[in-house]
């Protein structure tokens, strides 16, 4: 929960500007970018994600560092499972976890 997950922005949502699609190690999910209003976000940018929210913008090499760190701590699979579990913005197909 305290270790952030790095994700690459691959799509913006024209209807809901608070959302953006990120790619985390191949898994693509929508996250909330409402806390990033002080940053100019563009496609291809990397962000650190906590519980479905982007918290900071980072460089590509920092993102790679972060992923390697999660892997070293044995937290990478949990991180991907978490991202896969974000269901708040999956249209129609969204399922309730649990």
């Amino acid at each position: 929960m305290c270790l952030a997950i790095p994700g690459k922005i691959v799509e913006f949502d024209s209807v809901q500007p608070m959302l953006a699609k990120v790619d985390v190690a191949g898994v693509k999910r929508n996250i909330n970018i409402g806390l990033m209003e002080d940053e100019q976000l563009a496609l291809g940018d990397w962000v650190l994600i906590h519980v479905g929210f982007a918290m900071s913008k980072i460089g590509e090499s920092e993102a790679a560092d972060q992923l390697r760190m999660l892997r070293a701590l044995g937290e990478d699979e949990l991180a991907i499972e978490e991202v896969r579990g974000y269901s708040f913005a999956e249209h129609a197909a969204g399922q309730n976890p649990g």
Binding site: L3, N32, L35, F53, M55, V83
Partner: protein
């Protein structure tokens, strides 16, 4: 140096570790606290103790949110889940934390509707999908998760979602550190400051540690090299007789933090006059509650929460371990009655908890001595 091969750059590690060895006064014993549970995890995982001189002792801090939550709050939250019209939602870590009647997971097995979520927004969505039910989110965490809860509540209010509430257990890291500094049995020389919490709050809130208590602080990242560099910054300050806040994790942590996140927290939360932390007792202004504007979404207003106080099982020494007074294996239950499959205390549940990290990585090499 068990894990040294996996270090990104063993050469750099060796250089820093040599510099650390040069910076210590051999006649002095150093106690440096890593505040964040993520650091604790990394320190055990990489066997960092082995690359540090003998006279540097790393003391684990209170930075594991499920660990500092007292058992009474778990019971309080679960009492809300007793209501058959309620769907309780919580993060995965929380699902395995024991209350006096068992863990949320055990209660779920007995029929309560308790669901794991990965984001507070998922809890809100469950509320929108289940208009006949009330959905409560068991919110925990430091400033890494509090802004997310805040934004979720702002959304619930904006969309008038009335069947949703938050049982708020967010704590703020700085008063926890202050309580440790004021604790008579603690003698610390410096602090490795939390990395990701600081992306939200920035570095300024730690200045009192340097100014009022004259202790160095180095906000640090989570890779072995980051942590060692943080320790080196602290040792250099100590040698120069300085005390200031330094930011080792500049590549991620802005000095000012994340202003929109702080704004969202200020909009939704108010400081509680006091809040109980496991092991540290009641700490004033150390936790967040919902502001009166959000009373309609505040589980503590909407439900009768008993507000119970429960002491930990007698032999459990979670409090001492949380304060850094004892090391995990010094607890009588460690590895016997308390293990990751059957955790007695939350420190054995979360990967950020000192006991779980010690159990996973350090148990075999150190035997039972601390």
């Amino acid at each position: 140096m068990k894990y040294v091969d996996e270090f990104r750059d063993p050469e750099l590690i060796n250089n820093v570790s040599r510099e650390i060895a040069h910076s210590v006064d051999p006649g002095r014993h150093y106690r440096i606290m890593e505040v964040c549970g993520g650091h604790t995890h990394a320190i055990y995982r990489h066997g960092l103790k082995d690359v540090l001189p003998e006279n540097i002792e790393l003391v684990h801090g209170p930075g594991c949110p499920v660990c500092v939550l007292p058992m009474g709050r778990v019971d309080d939250g679960l009492s809300i889940a007793d209501d058959p019209d309620v769907i309780m939602t919580a993060f995965g870590d929380m699902m395995r934390v024991p209350g006096t009647r068992g863990t949320p997971l055990e209660l779920k097995a007995r029929g309560a509707d308790i669901r794991m979520v990965y984001s507070p927004l998922d809890a809100l969505r469950i509320a929108q999908n289940n208009p006949k039910k009330h959905v409560c989110f068991f919110a925990i965490g430091f400033e890494t998760t509090a802004p997310s809860t805040a934004l979720t509540l702002m959304r619930a209010k904006a969309q008038s979602v009335r069947n949703f509430s938050v049982f708020c257990n967010h704590v703020t890291i700085v008063p926890g550190i202050r309580a440790i500094l004021d604790s008579p049995d603690m003698r610390l020389d410096g602090f490795v400051g939390p990395g990701h919490v600081s992306t939200v709050i920035g570095c300024r809130p730690y200045e009192f540690i340097a100014c009022d208590y004259r202790k160095p602080v180095a906000v640090s990242g989570f890779e072995p090299l980051d942590i060692l560099e943080g320790i080196l910054l602290i040792l250099r300050q100590l040698r120069a007789g300085e005390a200031k806040v330094e930011n080792q994790y500049r590549r991620i942590v802005p000095w000012e933090g994340n202003l929109p996140a702080l704004k969202a927290m200020a909009e939704v939360f108010r400081l509680r006059p006091y809040f109980e932390w496991r092991g540290l007792g009641f700490i004033s202004q150390s936790a967040l509650k919902l502001s009166p504007d959000y009373a309609a979404w505040d589980a503590e207003v909407q439900f009768e929460v008993p507000g119970v106080r429960v002491t930990d099982p007698k032999a459990a020494q979670c409090g001492e371990v949380l304060k850094g007074v004892l090391k995990p294996p010094q607890c009588k239950l460690f590895g016997t009655q308390c293990n990751p499959e059957h955790p007695v205390g939350a420190l054995m549940v979360s990967s950020e908890g000192a006991c779980a990290a010690y159990y996973r990585y350090a148990r075999h090499e150190a035997g039972v001595s601390a």
